[in-house]
Amino acid sequence: MLSLRISASSGVPVYLQLEQQIKQAIASGLLRSGDPLPSTRRTAADLRINPNTVARAFQNLEREGIIRTVPGGGTFVASLASLAPGLLKAEKLRRIRPIAEQLAVEASQLQLSPTDLHKLLDAALNDLAKSRRTRSSDPAPEGDQ
């Protein structure tokens, strides 16, 4: 079952948090096209938030074509093929943005140049790729080295 976490006091409007988390869930595969979503009232009760807030979030998502409501009742994730692939990417970028901004602030305080920063990022990505490769080719647990 979909687990959403809403923080009422974070300063981000609750309906926005809901929308973002549903989009995120779709982006990471936790929700697939055709999956049912609980009703507005059920979602509100489970999260202990105002039903109008949930209704607003669902309305926005429906307008963007991410979910659809069936006339007989019930809300479902829309078929993702119809969604512009760029939308999900925009969501992913939005998620990473705060870290990027923080990195920029810290780097400027330490008076590192943009080139240093790019080198640092490339190194980190390389290390990550390397460790992924080693892990896949050596399933046995590490002994003492």
Partner: protein, 309 residues
């Protein structure tokens, strides 16, 4: 056309005489839209309970007006029509019967049209209310739960809850929020909550009113309020000091901190245009908004008293 469940117009309530006069409510303009979950926030002696008592007809206004569903709640027969549609949890959680079970059985006879035994059972189960403990042996939390069970099972058009979280542990509090959202908001019903628990209000309320010293400091949809308030840390020269958008200014060693109460984007743009640098821009939680408003109101009240002294 929004109808209002509760509406007041320059409502005032004064106690005592002469020097000892207490203005519990002092020119209150409250507007609770029907179908909303409205949270009334305020410090301990802000006048919240007095206002609620006037809405229930337990006290009469000294001046001004209060209307519930457009009717006068203090005078029969309108009073009876109003009370038929209200579920009430008072601030004082003393029971009017020997046990919670007896209280529920007594209360259900007053609301034959809307009472639901099923809902009563649901509330009893969710809140874990002991039905047969004598009220003298009941803990404060259980007394609150009894009052809540009575009010919620009425399925009233308006729920008035005065400090409904008294004595409730976190689990019970969570269950209460769930019950309120699940069973008390259908069919355009209204919930009016008066509480100190800002975190809970922030979650379920869609309208709030901040009350201090008998009057409303701020009222409106919660989302609008949250988007109107912002904390800005700014550096630069010749920074503005008077602007209706500014709630308060704090001078820090190398920067100025603004608390804005309206159109923060416009203000920020203004600053940028005039060459100032916005170092930090953060939204504010309801708690921070509340504290800031009360502090500012207290400060301006003190200034005014000094002027007259």
């Amino acid at each position: 056309m929004t109808t209002f469940a509760i509406q007041t117009d320059a409502l005032a309530k004064t106690y005592g005489l002469g020097n000892k006069k207490v203005h519990a409510v002092d020119g209150l303009n409250l507007n609770v839209p029907e179908g909303s979950i409205y949270g009334l926030l305020g410090r301990n002696s802000a006048g919240k309970t007095t206002t609620i008592r006037m809405a229930m007809g337990l006290a009469r206004p000294t001046s001004g007006e209060i209307k519930v569903f457009g009717l006068n709640p203090a005078v029969d027969p309108e009073r009876v029509t109003v009370l038929r549609q209200i579920g009430y949890v008072p601030e004082d959680k003393m029971l009017a019967a020997l046990t919670p079970r007896k209280l529920l059985e007594l209360n259900r006879s007053f609301y034959p049209d809307t009472w639901s035994d099923d809902l009563a059972r649901k509330v009893i189960k969710r809140l874990e209310l002991p039905l047969d403990t004598a009220f003298m042996k009941l803990s404060l939390g259980n007394k609150t739960k009894s009052a809540l069970a009575c009010a919620i099972a009425q399925r009233s058009r308006l729920l008035i809850l005065d400090e409904p979280t008294t004595g409730l542990d976190p689990i019970a509090l969570d269950e209460l929020l769930r019950l309120l959202v699940e069973d008390c908001t259908a069919d355009g019903r209204t919930i009016f909550l008066s509480t100190h628990q800002l975190a809970e209000i922030e979650q379920i309320a869609d309208h709030i009113g901040i009350m201090d010293r008998g009057r409303i400091l701020l009222e409106g949809p919660l989302d609008d309020i949250r988007s109107s308030f912002r904390r800005l840390t700014v550096t630069g020269a010749a920074l503005p000091t008077t602007n209706p958008a500014i709630l308060s200014i704090k001078q820090q060693p190398h920067a100025t901190q603004y608390i804005l109460q309206s159109s923060p984007e416009a203000f920020a743009q203004d600053l940028a245009v005039n060459g100032a640098t916005i170092v930090e821009s953060d939204p504010m939680s309801l708690n921070e908004i509340f504290l800031e408003l009360c502090r500012t109101s207290e400060a301006s009240e003190a200034d005014r008293e000094e002027e007259f002294a």
